[in-house]
């Protein structure tokens, strides 16, 4: 039946059992393939660095510059250097995951259970990223300002305290669910359209998906940088 070719498998996972730990195997498989490709790409581009950039080095420098601008505008001139690798890694990881999930025809590879797809379409990945962002901004605030970091919670008035505390929970929640929802929804929309009309019609939606994927990567990295910037900002 056609459903075998374009079936929708929602909430199905390829389970790996290690001891009594259970993992979503398909997430790790795709992430290893995509990150491997990313690392190969980057090692090729940085193999022979020249003062006069050519080819791949040019592209990587552009990427570096883009990430630096992002980190610098959100975090500020003083500490952006410390956080640039983290922000850049978030951006690259999310971007490579989203685009890899959208561009590579993973469905051609059959798994005993579940299907390969964007690692960011799994709630575990996005929560992991969001919690890392939360830890990062706490660490950034505490390491930069010490206990004075908690002044942020009563700034500008102590009335803000409950809202600021609530924010510490809503930040990772919104970060993780925004990314998860967007990417999963994109995969589902493309899946449904391919299932219903397997010709031409899904293509514009696929392009829209690529656009959304790139925007989500940018949003995730920008928000992470913004939260860190908020934590290290000095109030006067």
């Amino acid at each position: 039946m056609l459903t075998n070719f374009a079936a929708l498998e929602v909430g199905q996972h390829l389970y790996w059992q290690i001891g009594n730990i259970r993992l979503h195997g398909q997430v790790f498989l795709t992430s290893w393939i995509l990150l491997g490709a990313l690392l190969v790409f980057i090692s090729l581009g940085t193999k022979k660095m020249e003062n006069d950039p050519k080819g791949l080095q040019n592209l990587l420098e552009f990427l570096w510059d883009y990430i630096r601008d992002l980190a610098r505008t959100q975090i500020g001139e003083k500490v952006y250097r410390d956080w640039m690798p983290f922000i850049g890694t978030l951006f690259l990881f999310v971007f490579v995951s989203n685009w890899g999930g959208a561009l590579i025809p993973w469905r051609l590879i059959k798994l005993p259970s579940g299907e390969l797809g964007a690692p960011t379409a799994d709630i575990n990945t996005t929560i992991a990223l969001a919690l890392l962002v939360s830890l990062s901004y706490f660490y950034a605030g505490l390491s930069n300002k010490g206990w004075r970091y908690f002044e942020y919670y009563v700034h500008p008035t102590p009335i803000m305290l409950p809202f600021k505390i609530l924010e510490d929970f809503t930040k990772p929640l919104s970060l993780s669910f925004r990314l998860f929802g967007n990417i999963l929804a994109d995969e589902l929309v493309v899946g449904v359209l391919v299932f219903l009309v397997p010709l031409i019609l899904p293509i514009p939606v696929m392009f829209l998906g690529l656009f959304t994927s790139a925007i989500q990567a940018l949003i995730f990295a920008t928000l992470a940088a913004y939260y860190i910037g908020e934590a290290v900002e000095e109030h006067h």
């Binding site: 929602v10 909430g11 199905q12 996972h13 389970y15 009594n20 730990i21 259970r22 993992l23 979503h24 997430v27 790790f28 992430s31 990150l35 690392l39 980057i42 090692s43 940085t46 660095m49 020249e50 003062n51 950039p53 080095q57 990587l60 420098e61 570096w64 510059d65 990430i67 630096r68 640039m84 690798p85 983290f86 850049g88 890694t89 978030l90 690259l92 990881f93 690692p119 799994d122 709630i123 575990n124 990945t125 929560i127 992991a128 990223l129 919690l131 890392l132 999963l184």
Partner: protein, 153 residues
């Protein structure tokens, strides 16, 4: 382990949170370190070195430009001063030649006046000598006439 099951499902589901989460977090942290040493540091070094190089060159060029401008101004003032100096020398020479000319003219005038005077004096003496001689001759003649008249009487 971390196995929250939403929707009452015993296994699977969209919100199946398990050990994938911490392992993925560890993987991302590891990726951060790998990318830092493989990408952010080397590319940053190259880019920042180049930016420093460019800004140094710009500063150097600016310094050189200001030096050139200073030298130009220096030369201009030198030119100005030498021009006024030349003008001064020319006017001095003009004055000098004027003076010399006037002196020579005066000298010549004086000389001419002196010779004129001398000539006049000479003429005068000669005139007076001639007049003396004439009056003497007239005296002689008158005496002769007188004598002759006296003798005839």
């Amino acid at each position: 382990m971390l196995a929250f099951n939403f929707f009452g499902a015993t296994e699977g589901g969209l919100f199946d949170i398990n050990a994938t989460l911490p392992l993925m977090a560890i993987q991302v942290v590891a990726l951060t370190y790998i990318l830092n040493s493989l990408f952010f540091k080397p590319v940053g070094n190259v880019v920042e070195k180049r930016e420093k190089f460019v800004s140094n060159n710009i500063i150097e060029a600016k310094n050189k430009l200001s030096e050139v401008k200073k030298l130009e101004a220096d030369l201009l003032t030198q030119l100005q001063s030498s021009r006024t100096e030349a003008q001064r020398i020319v006017s001095e020479a003009e004055n000098e030649s004027d003076k010399l000319y006037k002196e020579a003219l005066e000298l010549a005038n004086n000389e001419a006046n002196a010779s004129k005077e001398k000539a006049r004096l000479e003429i005068e003496t000669q005139t007076s000598a001639a007049r003396d001689q004439l009056s003497k001759q007239a005296d002689d003649l008158s005496e002769l006439i007188v004598n002759r008249l006296i003798l005839e009487k």
